[in-house]
Amino acid sequence: MTMGDAPLLSVAGLTTRFVTRDGVVHAVSDVGFELGRGECLGVVGESGSGKSVTMLSLLRLIPMPPGEIVSGSAVFDGEDLLALTDEALRRVRGGRIGFVFQDPMTSLNPVLTVEAQIVEALRVHGLGTREARRMRARELLELVGIPAPRERLRAYPHELSGGMRQRVMIAIALACAPPLIVADEPTTALDVTVQAQIVALVKELKRKLSTSIIWITHDLGVVAGLADRVVVMYAGQIVEEAPVRDLYKSPQHPYTRGLLASVPRADRKSSVLASIRGQPPSLDEAPASCAFAPRCDFVHERCRRENPRLARLPGGRRVACWWDLDKGGPRDA
């Protein structure tokens, strides 16, 4: 993030939980981060880490009985999203923040044409005349690299391939030229080759349109090629944040280390796939001690007593851990 520029999005203290019949799930606990203009932030974590719920909470897109946003602020371009009225929020959704979801087959309405769904995004924000909107729909399809856009506009989602559908979703998200796009695991449901195409497309779009992007994934490989900075989440909290190269070169959190080590590499010989021992915790209690402690190789007494706070490190990094990996001893803080 270039110093001096006001961040586009500034989230602080976001806490979200789900109150279900069987108990409370603390999905997101005290999460905060910043995003600059034109920047791409990668959000990495396994299922249940809270990465999706965090971003969905920003736009209040989580189901609100059982879900509740307990506290926090999310200042986007001067306004706190979490304090907006329903109508004001509706204008932000799609108009200023575009969302790309994971599974394009179920995320597109099966009985409406592609054109109808793209045009709808324009219409609800009052953009243009009917003719202008249709032209824009065609432009958007070209922008996302869909050949023969005129025919594709009249198609229904089930007539398109997975990759095409995801391009349509991206087109919908871009429709109103929002300054921020949040992509929630957009390539997880796609074939590897198609994945690569979509990532290339997004890179190209970022370059062309200078859109800020939040890219949620569990796939470290994708993040490496796309993001400027990466945030690692575990058990509903941020455990590490760093510029992408620094994160890969010298991860400061044992979890990040474990993740990076578990990626099999063709250039290294190994007979056993490395993995992180243990299971992610159940989220039925607010964190009172380090959530990663049961699985950590560097666990000591303080870890079980106190939940580590995010500490700032030089180079625009943050880490939440009581063990200093570089020093080889407990962190003083």
Partner: protein
């Protein structure tokens, strides 16, 4: 699309034939006699001649063949003749009622409007109540509206129509005197006052039938809407900035419309069954009542024809449901 329609229609024909055969076969076992309503003074030879003329003594297959031809060829021609006042010449035997000794189709044509009026209005009214109720119930799940609505639907389709009809008569005709308890089928609508009277006398049977239809349909609408409101594309719509009304109507309902419309089409035969009962209660001179009297009088041709017509209706509404499903759901359109 046209091919889909054609294929479906052609598939319906063997079913209809099979049904007509079953109906005819079952009824053929009936101990009925066309001369049973003759006065006793008529000598047996004359009766025998009459039976012979009506084909009563032919074998089963011959009679079936004749009846089939009458249903599919003679009657439609007679209908055309009557509508256009033409006369195609050769004398054709028409299916005759044993009780009234006039053509069955004439009686049917006479009574059809009564039945259709009450059924048609109650059908539309039922939909108009059920769908909005189902949508609101689903959107505000567990709210007071939803719970009351669900209770009302459960009660609505548990209480049989003949009971609601009778209770309606007790309350609204006997005690309150708001509506006449018996339907006057000779009543003609000539001016506003008689139109109002027609409305008043239709009110109870229509209300009874409409409430029953609405009950099942509203539950179904609710569950279909609930299912669709939980789908991912609803979240996409909200993320696009679509307002709640748009989400509900343009996205959820548009998808729910497919099974709902299909169900409505499939309910049509049930409505005709409901007509049979309502006509008994309110003494409406319609097709249902015709069937009951025909059964009681062992008037086999009337029973056969009416039952067959009901069967045609069932098959036709199944076909309609199929077609509508194909029209509304783009996913199966081009099979």
């Amino acid at each position: 699309m046209a091919r889909y329609l054609l294929r479906r229609t052609l598939a319906a024909i063997p079913t209809l034939l099979a049904i007509s055969f079953v109906i005819f076969a079952i009824l053929d076992l009936a101990p009925g006699d066309p001369t049973s309503s003759f006065p006793l003074s008529i000598p047996p030879e004359v009766r025998e001649q009459y039976r012979e003329a009506l084909g009563f003594n032919d074998t089963f297959l011959v009679r079936y063949g004749k009846w089939l031809r009458q249903m599919t060829v003679d009657e439609p021609i007679a209908l055309i003749e009557q509508s256009f006042g033409a006369d195609a010449g050769s004398s054709r035997t028409r299916i005759q009622s044993w009780a009234s000794r006039s053509p069955v189709m004439d009686t049917i044509a006479e009574r059809l409007p009564q039945t259709l009026w009450v059924l048609g209005v109650s059908f539309l009214l039922g939909i108009a109540i059920a769908v909005p109720l189902g949508v609101v119930s689903a959107y505000r799940q567990y709210s007071l509206v939803d719970q009351l609505g669900t209770l009302a639907s459960m009660v609505g389709y548990s209480v049989p129509t003949f009971f609601t009809g009778l209770v309606a008569i007790i309350v609204f005709s006997v005690w309150l005197g708001w509506f006449p308890s018996f339907y006057d089928t000779t009543h003609e609508v000539t001016d506003f006052a008689s139109f109002v009277f027609q409305l008043r006398q239709m009110a109870m049977p229509v209300a009874v039938l409409a409430l029953f239809n609405a009950a099942a349909l509203s539950r179904f609408t609710r569950s279909s809407m609930l299912e669709n409101l939980g789908e991912d594309y609803i979240r996409t719509a909200r993320a696009k900035g679509v307002d709640e009304r748009g989400v509900l109507l343009r996205h959820a309902l548009r998808n729910s419309a497919i099974p709902i419309v299909t169900l409505i089409a499939l309910q049509i035969p049930g409505i005709f069954a409901g007509a049979i009962i309502t006509e008994q209660i309110f003494r409406i001179n319609g097709l249902g009542q015709a069937l009951i009297s025909a059964i009681n009088a062992s008037d086999i041709p009337m029973v056969q024809t009416l039952t067959f017509i009901f069967a045609v209706l069932v098959v036709a509404s199944n076909l309609l449901a199929d077609v509508l499903y194909g029209l509304l759901d783009p996913r199966i359109r081009y099979e």
